[in-house]
Every structure is written in structure tokens, then in C-alpha cells.
Assembly symmetry: C2
Homo-oligomer: 332 residues x 2
């Protein structure tokens, strides 16, 4: 099959921004003098932790669902996700009056499962290691009901929605008198990073785009190095439950290949350090995957390409209290 | 003694705003659709947790210290505080190159003690229950060195500095298209609330000002009811270590008497609930005293006087990880 892979442009992202206006939160871009002192840089933090559902995922989900026609809305949607996309789709569906079935791994953080159920979604579980894959389960449900599958990242409307983070980031940085030398975001399937990169590069071509992956899930780095999409065989779990995609998306990969300057890998220990720093100094609750960019920065792994102003997306804050307690006490 | 008690006006607060500009953080005023849904109100949260030192106290401290003359700067400053004022004075002193001695209770949260030391201050401890009072110790040190005592709230420059929170809050609310029906802040000695009230009432006389105290430290409520400053005998500790003043200030009380519409009292359980809500839904780290306003709102204790738009100061986020972990796990 050689179907043309759709891409996403600035106009798509601007249209998405119009669609989500008044529904998504315009999250603050904050600056911490303490973090600036520590890094010797000017660091701006885009707090998607403060987005609806506690993660950027609401943007793409709402942008996708609001474009369904009446017939599709009646039949409903189905999505699979370890948590944040699940919540984004569940809340967007609730707001738009669309039935939603969400397929989640049975070891998803309970805080994410409960929130997804709380938005009224019908949650179905699967086991990561046995039985049908989540793709198979979702496809079955979709077929049964004629429901629309809402992918977590490999969908131009999803990418366009996530790209709205970049529009706000640029406008807010400008208001602070800052010109971005580097923009950093975590990578799972690449929806956020490819959307962000599209926006930022269109408005500010000199800004370097840097992605961050867990060391155990370096599929995007490997794919970029090889020049084609690589699927990795994970050797273990990562603290970053939100970043465990084993491959970059078909749509997102070509965008990242064209626009991303560097990918940093972070360890669980570095992620925990960043979560503790966010708790103790920034006073922000950040989940492991959401802290990946900050982790790379604090570990000295973000190349600044000679620049001094770095914007980082703190992409989510949905973390189980038990695990968070262990992290802040230094036990994880 | 019938010395005239100084008061604080809008011009003092505007001058303070000029002095702290570029030194203090202009903290965001955020809105959470989930919190709006839960309360049926429009709630705006002024995140002083994101201020330097993690609390609004930096504003007043910097405004006081920057006005010292060269001779006073050389002799240094001394302050007593359970934590946030300590950190505010310590950091302002460090930035201005002024030596600082801070007198702290020996049971102050270690996170506050360590931060105060981290800013280079000389920390001296006292015991809450025995020996000299902190006032006596501070007075001795001041006399010894010719140092200036920097009070935590009963000083017009401190009150003016804290009042800058209100200037930002009003401007930011306006930018969001919101008109404040109620503005809420916690009360310890009343520095924040009297400064906030002065600013808000000058620009927006129809906004009701509401203070919140821990139920065990209802000195301001009792004072307002009696029409004169009452000193209470605390019967126990509160989770709100930052709000344990046993009396309102000589300067702050007349301002609060004139401008405050209501005072709500919150229990430790309500404060813990608010901290958990801030963690799980807002993704913000808020210390017990900093969460008092939110606690009152969530407990249905904030009178809205028929209005629908409420701004609340989240005044600080300095909390020991051990205690925070217990709170979010529901064990405190």
C-alpha cells in the first residue's frame, strides 16, 4: 500500500485553535527565577498539566471529535490509550454528547482509569502481555457499533490539535519579551512534538525543536537515525507510562524527520529528579512522562545550540498519589 | 502610648509594584473548568505558590529591604517567622547583598528551614513553649548588631508589598473578561489580606473581601466581632503552620475592620481535602495555609454575596514531602 500520508500545516493548526477556543484552557507559560539560576538559561514552562484532564491530549481529542458529523456522533467513538488520550477523548465526548468506549491496559495508573470513567466513558481493559492487542479490541468494537476510532497520535486532526500548544507558547513568549532558541517536548507517538514543531518552525524557523524519550523507548531516536520508522521491542517498563509507544506515527514521523533537531533520552532516575524538583521548587504536580523535557534539561541533555532561551512543555500531571509520594520522599 | 498607627493606601501599593517589578514573579491567575463545574461558580486562582520562595511573602520583604539606606543595609536585618516570611526576607537580603539573621521555631517545616539557609541566611532557633520568645530573641540580635527588624506583617511596607498581589489579580481578571464579586485570601497577621483588600476595594468597591483562618486560630474573626484586637490562647496546632498568628496586626486590623466583609474558619480536614483537590485536579502543590481559601470554598464556607465570580489567593506551596505524601494518600 502506498497511500499518501496526510501531513499537517499551520492552517490546520490555526483552524484547530479556533475550534478548541473556549473549550480548552489557554495554559500559562511560566518562568521560575530559581530554575533560570540553576540552568544558567531562561526557561519557560508551558503548563499543559493545567489543561483540562491534566494533559495536552484534550486539545487533539476535542479537535477530532468536534468535526464528526451527526451520524458519526450518534454511533460514537472508540479509543485506546494508557490514560491521557483516554481522558481527553472521554471528556471531549462528554462535552459533545458522544458515546465513548475506551480500551485501556489493565495496569494503567488508577488515577487515569478513574478519571476516564468519571467522564462517563465505557472503559474496557486488556492485558499488555496476553490475548488480543488493544488495536484488535478497538477495531472489533468499532466494527460492532460503527464507531469511529480516534487514534492517540496518528491522525492529522489530533496532530493539529496538539499543535495549538505551540501557537500559545509563541504568543506568550512574545508577551514576555522572549525569543525561543529551543522548544522541547516529550515524544510518545510524536503527536505533540510534530504539532508543536509545525507551529514553531512556521513562525520561528530559527528555533531548534528537541524531543525527549524514555531511554527504554527510544523508537523515535532510532527511527530518525535510520531514516525510517523503527518498531522497538521494549525490554521493560518506564516510569513514563504516557511515553511507551514502541514506534513513531506514520503521519508524525515525516514531520519530526523534517523539523526535529535532536532527541534526548532520559532515565527513570532523571525523571524522578525532575518530578521532585517540580514539586519542591516549582510547586507543580507533573507526571513522569510530563516531566521528561524538564528531566532532560536538568540532566544537561538538552542541546541549546548556542542559545539561551528554552521553552519546555510540561505535558501532563496525572500521577497516582502513592507513586508521587514515593518520588517526593526520594524512594523512587 | 497613643502613637498614630500608619495605614497603607493604593499609592503605596503602586509604588511597591514598581519596586518589585522584575524581581518578583507576576504569578498567573488560572481558571479550572473542573473547579468551576464543581462549585457552580467562576473561580480564578492567583498562584502565589509560583512566586519566588514559593509564597507571596517575597513581595513584602523585597519592598521593605530595597528601601533600607546604605547604613542599614550594612548592619543587616533580622526577622522571625515560621517559614515563608523567613524565606522571603532571606532571598530579598541575598539579592540586595544584605546580611540576614532569621529566628525560626525549632519545629518549623524542615523544607522551610533548609530553603531559608539555602538563601544564605543565618538561622537561629527558638522553642515555641519555653525560654525567650522570638520577639525577645530578635530584639536582642537587632540591638547587638544595630540590625533592622523586618516584621512579618505589621509594617506598612510589608503590607504594601503584599498588596501588589491585588493589582495583578485585578489586571489579570480584567484580561479574562471577569469582574470579581469576591476576593479571598488566608489570614495570619493580616498582611496579605489587608494589602489585597486595600487594592481591590480602591479599584473595585463592589468586590467583597473574604478572609480565611484556621478554626484553631480565629483571632481575626474574634477581633472583628469584638471591634478590637484580641489575642487568643491557642489550644493546639493547625495544619496551617503559616497561619498561626494569635492576633491580627496593629496596622492590618483597622484595614481589615474597614474593608473585610466576612471571615471563614476552616478545619484541618477541610484544608487536607483542598490540598488533595489541588494535587489531583488542579495539579498544583499547595501548602496547608496556602490552601485555606480553596478549603473554605470547597467546604461551602465562602459567602458569595449573590455573586458568581470568586478569586482566591493560593498563598504558598512550601510543604514537607512526608506530610504532603500523607495528605494525598488520604492519611492526613
Amino acid at each position: 500500500m502506498n497511500a499518501v500520508v496526510p501531513t499537517v500545516g499551520l492552517a490546520d493548526i490555526e483552524a484547530a485553535a479556533e475550534r478548541i477556543r473556549g473549550h480548552a484552557v489557554e495554559t500559562p507559560l511560566i518562568e521560575s527565577p530559581a530554575l533560570n539560576d540553576r540552568t544558567g538559561l531562561r526557561v519557560l514552562l508551558k503548563c499543559e498539566t493545567l489543561q483540562r484532564v491534566g494533559a495536552f491530549k484534550f486539545r487533539g481529542a476535542y479537535n477530532r471529535l468536534v468535526q464528526l458529523n451527526d451520524d458519526e456522533r450518534t454511533r460514537g467513538v472508540v479509543a485506546f490509550s494508557s490514560g491521557n488520550h483516554a481522558q481527553g477523548v472521554a471528556l471531549a465526548a462528554k462535552l459533545l454528547g458522544i458515546p465513548a468506549v475506551i480500551v485501556m491496559p489493565d495496569d494503567a495508573p488508577s488515577v487515569k482509569v478513574e478519571a476516564t470513567k468519571g467522564y462517563g466513558a465505557d472503559v474496557r481493559f486488556y492485558n499488555r502481555l496476553s490475548g488480543k492487542t488493544r488495536e484488535e479490541i478497538a477495531a472489533e468494537i468499532a466494527q460492532e457499533r460503527g464507531a469511529v476510532v480516534v487514534p492517540a497520535f496518528d491522525d492529522p486532526h489530533i496532530v493539529a490539535g496538539q499543535g495549538t500548544v505551540g501557537l500559545e507558547m509563541l504568543r506568550q513568549a512574545h508577551a514576555l519579551g522572549a525569543t525561543l532558541d529551543v522548544a522541547v517536548a516529550p515524544i510518545s507517538g510524536g503527536g505533540l512534538l510534530s504539532g508543536l514543531a509545525t507551529t514553531v518552525k512556521a513562525h520561528s524557523p530559527q528555533t531548534a525543536i528537541v524531543g525527549v524519550e524514555p531511554a527504554q523507548f527510544s523508537d523515535t531516536l532510532q527511527s530518525l537515525q535510520k531514516g525510517e520508522r523503527v518498531t522497538i521491542k521494549p525490554t521493560g517498563r518506564s516510569y513514563c507510562d504516557a511515553l511507551e509507544s514502541p514506534f513513531p506515527g506514520e503521519i508524525t514521523f515525516p514531520i519530526m524527520r523534517r523539523l526535529v533537531a535532536d532527541v534526548a533520552l532520559v532515565t527513570d532516575a532523571e525523571v524522578a529528579d525532575a518530578m521532585r524538583y517540580a514539586f519542591s521548587t516549582l510547586k507543580l504536580v507533573v507526571e513522569p512522562g510530563g516531566a521528561a523535557g524538564l528531566a532532560a534539561l536538568l540532566a544537561g541533555k538538552v542541546s541549546t545550540f548556542g542559545g539561551t532561551t528554552v521553552a519546555i512543555v510540561l505535558s501532563g500531571g496525572n500521577v497516582d498519589p502513592e507513586f508521587f509520594g514515593r518520588v517526593i520522599r526520594g524512594e523512587a
